[in-house]
């Protein structure tokens, strides 16, 4: 039987303080108010004073309300029963299904021992040439999509999710618009993926603090499946909302901000989530794809900046396409040597020529003379944008490589591409 305390003596922001004894750090409690019951978590202990972060927010809490400590940290049910279900940020059902309490695990569990990880080696195919050819996605990679409001980042996320060959998809929504949630649900359903998906949903209308739990819950469930040998893909959108929630709590707790109001431990807080991505030595894997919207399209803003320092590259979504520059998959070299032996050649050559095209474009806009070479580059760049970069394109890697050769053939003489003779002999299209 857990003790109940009624002496709430401080309410600041979404944090309350209550006099209590025998409380553990990060322990969970239930706060019962006139509006109902909310979960809350201990975030600091000072003598007999316990500070709690209230998931449903502090609005309507009265100093006389009851706080009941549960004797354990935040937990989440795991296992197959979750498949096809939808929950909120605290793990309560949002569909009409039953509340689950099977195989409870603590969220935010300990880190994986580095010696138990293996070097990732399996490519995840997406059908998107800008990813498969130029920045291959690798199983167990952690990769954000850097973007700005208005760009189709959720569409891209859903598309990769539904096309990737994985066993389980977990979607963690943070501050999502309800329409976006419906979009995700419908897309998963259309592709028959709903039955092996789990959704943890925090919408823009839900209390801010609840948003903080979404990555941890999603990843704890993912980890449990991965340990059973499953390949799990975790989609998180939008991590910038998560960071802003962290900022809000930090300010409430009067922490000294380090950079534009964000707490100094933002890096560690993000890293402990992203580092859950893993390829286990003798079990499954977790791959994390996350959306990070960049305030003001500024990549040096603390959110994308700290994210970039943690993740293994990023896809930069701009003007409706994945930008070749600024996008990077740091793990691509682990897989693109064994796909097809022209893969790296096409990747390097096409990007170099595209860089030249961008320079020519700049020269053109400044009114400088266009040489014959410049004209070739302009033709090439347009074909590249239309046939490779456009997100409408959906073809397997091998088709995309063939298409690459065709574009090069349409625009250049073989020697102008700088490609080695031996590869040209093998791959340069013979047609006229």
């Amino acid at each position: 039987m857990h003790k109940i305390y009624t002496s709430i003596n401080q309410i600041v922001g979404d944090v309350i303080a209550v006099d209590a004894e025998d409380v553990g750090n990060t322990e969970l409690a239930e706060v019962t108010t006139r509006r109902g019951t909310s979960l809350a978590q201990v975030i600091r202990l000072d003598g007999n004073k316990a500070f709690l972060q209230v998931f449903a927010g502090s609005r309507g809490i009265s100093t006389g309300d009851r706080v009941r400590f549960l004797g354990h940290p935040m937990r989440i049910a795991t296992g197959d029963l979750l498949l096809g279900r939808v929950f909120n940020g605290s793990g309560r059902p949002l569909d009409n299904g039953p509340d689950l309490s099977e195989n409870l695990v603590d969220i935010g569990g300990p880190p994986v021992n580095p010696v138990k990880r293996i070097i990732p080696n399996k490519m995840i195919r997406t059908g998107i040439p800008m990813i498969d050819v130029f920045n291959s996605l690798v199983e167990s990679q952690k990769l954000p999509i850097f973007s700005i409001a208005g760009e189709p980042y959720n569409e891209l996320l859903a598309r990769i999710g539904t096309q990737a060959e994985v066993d389980i998809i977990i979607l963690g929504g943070m501050g999502l618009k309800y329409d976006d949630y419906l979009f995700f649900r419908d897309t998963l359903e259309e592709h028959g993926a709903l039955s092996h998906s789990i959704v943890f949903m925090h919408t823009a209308a839900d209390p801010v603090v609840e948003c903080l739990l979404v990555p941890d819950i999603s990843l704890a469930v993912a980890e449990n499946f991965a340990l059973e040998g499953k390949r799990v893909l975790v989609l998180l959108t939008d991590m910038s909302n998560f960071c802003d929630a962290l900022k809000e709590i930090a300010i409430t707790m009067q922490q000294i901000p380090s950079n534009r109001g964000y707490p100094g431990d933002l890096y560690s807080l993000l890293a402990s989530r992203y580092e859950k991505a893993v390829d286990f030595e003798t079990a499954g894997s977790i791959t994390i794809l996350a959306v990070t919207t960049m305030p003001g399209d500024d990549v040096t803003h603390p959110i994308p900046d700290n994210t970039g320092y943690i993740t293994e590259g990023q896809f930069y979504l701009k003007n409706g396409a994945i930008e070749p520059f600024g996008s990077l998959s740091r793990l691509k070299q682990l897989v693109n040597a064994k796909t097809r032996d022209d893969h790296r050649t096409i990747m390097d050559t096409m990007i170099q020529l595209f860089a030249d095209y961008r320079e020519t474009q700049e020269k053109q806009s400044m009114g400088f003379q266009m040489s014959a070479w410049d004209m070739k580059l302009l033709k090439y760049g347009q074909l590249f944008e239309e046939k490779m970069m456009s997100l409408k394109v959906n073809i397997p890697l091998e088709k995309a490589l063939d298409l690459g050769w065709e574009i090069l053939h349409d625009c250049f003489l073989p020697e102008e591409t700088g490609i080695k003779r031996s590869i040209i002999d093998q791959y340069w299209p013979k047609k006229l």
Partner: protein, 581 residues
């Protein structure tokens, strides 16, 4: 022995715990928090009245007010002895493979395992005899550890002179068996073991003198050795925005640098990167020793999701191990990636202590901590006259890629070489993305000074002309200027840039660097005859292609000489009066 003191928790804030105590407590003393069956390691970082504030090296989940804390009377220390080479330790020197054996996939808090095997025996050979006089750091014998003579040394903690009373004959010993007894002037006797403990935050200084680092440390990275060199016993830093290539560069250096031992401190960065090192090093054969790289490497890893407080101890543990091997007369290279994560850990703790924050909320003592860390590098002459060195190279991860931030600035004040990576070079895939326009080094290059200056000069000039050309276009640039621009680009492409994925190009030995630099120097000095710019451009494009091919051919092979002749012939055609050859 006096009874050790204990205390009780009164406050918990993240990984900082405040404890009341009533018997004496020492600053930086190690203490264990008792939580049920668990004992969690922590360190006293501030004492006020009868309250000690401690950083906990573990997650503090579940800890309660009133729980007991045992003080140990010891500073945070590690054990130094044979068996460290090839090991993978966490920031507190727990061996991670052994932890995995015991705990499985996950790290379990409160599990601490001895750093060195207590049961393994080592072949000891004595080098001193009874009656010999010794002092701290003196070698009394050795065991074979991998390819090195691992010396057994008089404990560094002892001061003054000692006499050897007895020493074991050659034979097998564990680190727990004394191999000698020594006596001080007052007749007090001390045992000497194959291992000893040392507090990590204090430098080991059992040597005669510190010398100026003058001998180049060849990394086989051309841009570094030729233009921005590092010396044995010196220090350098690699600041750069995310994804610019700091880690790849440090990994290349860890494989190719001409040193005896490499200590890798993975501090607050990705676990995946250290996995690459620990999985590949056992199968990469070091050409100098014909042994796996792992035989001369120690990895200290506190990756970004491991406890934050141990980031600090990971860099100190690493540098202490480096100093220990230096005491044996070895050249040691310590690579830390990234020192910014350690600085951030300091910032987190400072915030919890509610200290007055400095710039970007870093504590006021940031600079002095960074300075005293790099000060532990150095070339030293040992008591027996031999030389040993610790070279430190630290990656720095500036917020927003802006080098004006406090950690980069504090580091630049103390290091001997600055290898600044720039986003524009990494975006253009010009690897290694060390920006020659901003980098500098105080050390001596392997390249003759006049040539080196000329090389750097042409880069500056080429850049100026490139900037101009953006405004006035190619058509507004003189042929002379355009030639200089092409020469600078050529130098950049075939010399500064190095292909990390090409088995030959990834590492260039010193002799080859000197030879090629001289060759390129003469190209830079040559006058070429061209009518038009596109002719010149085409010529240099072809030359670049030839040269890049040359870069992937083994040094001094027949093919190397053949290609050289080809390049010389190609140059002759266009050089005024065949001046180059």
């Amino acid at each position: 022995m006096t009874a050790l003191s204990s205390g009780r928790i009164v406050r918990i804030n993240g990984n900082m715990v405040t404890v009341t105590f009533d018997t004496p407590v020492m600053q930086n003393e190690v203490a264990y928090i008792r939580h049920g069956q668990e004992r969690l390691k922590s360190e006293v970082i501030r004492i006020r009245g009868n309250l000690a504030e401690m950083q906990v090296y573990e997650a503090t989940t579940g800890l309660k007010i009133g729980e007991e804390v045992e003080f140990t009377g010891e500073l945070l220390s590690i054990e130094l002895g044979p068996g460290m080479l090839g090991q993978i330790y966490d920031g507190l020197q727990n061996p991670l493979p052994e932890i995995a054996e015991q705990c499985g996939f996950f790290l379990q808090r409160g599990v601490y395992i001895k750093a060195l095997s207590e049961s393994k025996t080592w072949d000891f050979t004595p080098e001193k005899k009874p009656g010999d006089s010794v002092r701290a750091g003196d070698k009394i014998g050795y065991v074979e550890e991998k390819i090195f003579r691992h010396f057994c040394m008089v404990p560094f903690t002892l001061t003054g002179n000692y006499e050897i009373i007895s020493i074991e004959n050659a034979g097998r010993f564990t680190i727990r068996q004394a191999v000698a007894q020594i006596m001080d002037q007052n007749g007090k006797i001390y045992p000497v073991f194959l291992s000893q403990t040392w507090p990590v935050k204090i430098p080991i200084q059992a040597y005669t003198e510190r010398l100026k680092p003058e001998e180049p440390l060849v990394t086989k990275m051309r841009l570094i050795d030729s233009l921005f060199p590092v010396s044995r016993g010196g220090t350098y830093c690699i600041p750069g925005p995310f994804g610019a290539g700091k880690t790849v560069l440090q990994q290349l250096i860890s494989r190719h640098a001409e040193v005896d031992i490499v200590i890798i401190a993975a501090c607050g960065e990705r676990a995946g990167e250290i996995v690459e090192t620990l999985r590949t090093f056992p199968s990469i054969i070091d050409p100098r020793t014909s042994r796996p790289l792992s035989d001369r490497t120690v990895i200290i890893c506190n990756t970004s999701s491991m406890p934050v407080a141990a980031r600090e101890s990971s860099v100190y543990t690493a540098v202490t191990i480096a100093e220990y091997y230096r005491q044996m007369g070895l050249h040691v290279l310590l690579l830390a990636d990234s020192t910014s994560r350690w600085a951030q850990a300091m910032r987190e703790m400072s915030g919890r202590l509610e200290e007055i924050p400095g710039e970007e909320a870093f504590p006021a003592y940031l600079e002095s901590r960074i300075a005293s860390f790099y000060e532990r590098a150095g070339l030293v002459r040992l008591h027996d006259g031999s030389l040993g060195s610790v070279t430190i190279g630290g990656a720095v991860s500036p917020a927003g890629g802006n080098f004006e931030e406090p950690v980069t600035q504090a580091t630049l004040k103390v290091v001997g070489a600055f290898l600044g990576l720039s986003r524009s070079r990494s975006d253009a895939r010009r690897y290694p993305a060390i920006d020659p326009l901003i980098s500098w080094s105080k050390y001596r290059s392997i390249i003759e000074e006049g040539q080196r200056e000329r090389g750097q000069g042409i880069l500056l000039k080429g850049n100026d002309i490139a900037q101009m050309m953006k405004v006035v276009g190619e058509e507004g640039t003189s042929l002379q200027d355009y030639m200089d621009f092409l020469k600078a680009e050529f130098f950049d492409f075939v010399y500064l840039q190095q292909n990390a994925f090409d088995p030959v190009d990834e590492a260039t030995v010193k002799e080859r660097q000197i030879y090629i630099f001289d060759f390129i120097h003469r190209i830079i000095e040559s006058e070429f005859v061209f009518e038009r710019k596109d002719e010149a451009l085409h010529f240099f494009q072809q030359l670049r292609q030839l040269f890049r091919g040359w870069n992937s051919i083994s040094w001094q092979s027949d093919e190397f000489k053949k290609t050289e002749q080809e390049i010389r012939a190609f140059l002759l055609v266009r050089t005024r009066e065949g001046k180059h050859a």
